[in-house]
């Protein structure tokens, strides 16, 4: 497999920059273990010892034997460096959501972006509780706010009027 194919394989199951860099690290450590330390332990056990998540293990399994056979003692670092360089060129969307997403949610979000925006997209997810609901994102240098907070500020006058009417009505009824 060439560099592009290797990169595609890594990116196929990794939707965020964080996941990509972590999995590249696992790949490097795994290959170092195999080629420089002389032993080839069980992959799952190895990944668990490195505190990999279930999704990391699933991703590793999905790479297949051909993926790891593309590396040898002399090409490990060069190939990994080239893969990193290609990944750096990928477009990144900085996404702001009001809760901390679980790994499954990250995959779902990643899949939505890959399906609706493009395959060459990586996410940089941040948690911002002040958004209240909805989300906001920065894409190609432009920040767009589709959060509940934004809409509340947009409709401030109407909301204020509603609240004032409600308060006046409340006091009239109480008197």
């Amino acid at each position: 497999m060439d560099t592009n194919e290797l990169t595609q394989e890594v990116v196929k199951t990794s939707f965020t920059r964080r996941d990509v860099s972590r999995r590249l690290r696992f790949i490097r450590e795994w290959l170092e273990q195999e080629y420089f330390k002389g032993n080839k332990p069980d992959m799952t056990k190895f990944l668990l010892s490195k505190r990999a998540t279930t999704d990391d293990i699933d991703a590793f399994i999905s790479y297949g034997e051909n993926f790891f056979k593309s590396f040898n003692k002399d090409t490990i670092y060069k190939l990994l460096h080239d893969i990193s360089e290609l990944i750096k060129k990928m477009q990144v969307i900085r996404l702001y959501i009001p809760y901390e997403p679980v790994p499954a949610e990250i995959i779902k979000l990643g899949a939505w972006f890959r399906g609706n925006v493009g395959n060459e997209i990586l996410l940089d997810i941040h948690t911002d509780k002040t958004l209240l609901g909805g989300c906001a994102f920065a894409w190609k240098g432009i920040f767009r706010d589709y959060s509940l907070r934004y809409y509340m500020h947009k409709k401030r006058d109407e909301i204020t009027k509603l609240v004032t009417e409600y308060v006046n009505k409340f006091y009239e009824e109480s008197i």
Binding site: G118, T130, L132, G133, W139, K140, S147, M152, R156
Partner: protein
């Protein structure tokens, strides 16, 4: 007196001695003169000498008599003077006692007179003071009444003026307070209007955290993403 007598006696003694001495000198000089004048006549000189000796002896005798008399007189005088002095002293003492008694009686009389005069004086002063005090009290009472009446009327007038002024000021202050309250209310409402969204945000934040599940929140995110896609937010 004793001192005077002593001095007198001393003077007489000295006078006698000087007289004796002078006579001796005269005699010696006369002897010398006789000796030089009558060196050629020893018989005459013998007679003269005898006569002069006789004269001198008489002179000496007389001088001694005089001195003796003088001394005697001096002693008599001294004795009499002493007597006189003693009698004078006793007279003087008696006189002094008389004078003392007289002075004592006069002093007692004067003291009694002064005491009674002083007592009378004190009584008169007390009477005058009492009269003054009563007069002053009457005057004070009348003046006090006048002052009280004057003060009362002035106080009533001042009280009325103060009441009126206070009333005006209170009304003025109340009007100002009402205006301030109205202004404050407007300002606060303005602040509330500005803050209403922030307050709503806080309330909604707490409410959504408690009420919305992760699935519902996730749905809101996808709805927002769909809205963004509709608005072509992801155009390349």
């Amino acid at each position: 007196m004793d001192g005077f007598l002593f001095n007198l006696l001393l003077f007489l003694t000295i006078f006698f001695v000087l007289t004796q001495f002078a006579m001796l000198i005269v005699f010696l000089r006369s002897q010398q003169k006789h000796e030089t004048d009558h060196l050629g006549d020893p018989e005459l000189w013998g007679k003269a000498k005898t006569k002069s000796e006789h004269v001198i002896e008489e002179a000496v005798q007389k001088a001694n008599d005089i001195v003796t008399q003088a001394e005697k007189k001096g002693v008599d005088i001294l004795a009499s003077e002493e007597q006189k002095g003693a009698s004078l002293a006793s007279d003087y003492e008696a006189h002094f006692k008389k004078v003392e008694e007289l002075l004592k009686s006069q002093f007692a009389e004067s003291a009694q007179k002064a005491g009674s005069a002083y007592t009378d004086f004190i009584k008169s002063i007390e009477k005058q003071v009492d009269e003054h005090i009563s007069e002053n009290q009457k005057l004070l009472a009348s003046r006090t009444d006048e002052l009280i009446k004057g003060a009362q009327s002035a106080l009533e007038k001042t009280s009325r003026d103060v009441d009126a002024r206070i009333k005006d000021q209170v009304e003025h202050a109340l009007d100002e307070a009402r205006n301030e309250i109205t202004e404050y209310k407007k300002r606060r409402m303005k602040v509330v209007d500005e803050r209403i969204i922030d307050m709503l945000e806080d309330v909604i934040k707490v409410t959504l955290e408690k009420k919305l599940s992760l699935v519902e929140q996730s749905e809101l995110v996808y709805k927002a993403l769909e809205e963004a896609k509709k608005e072509n937010a992801f155009e390349k």
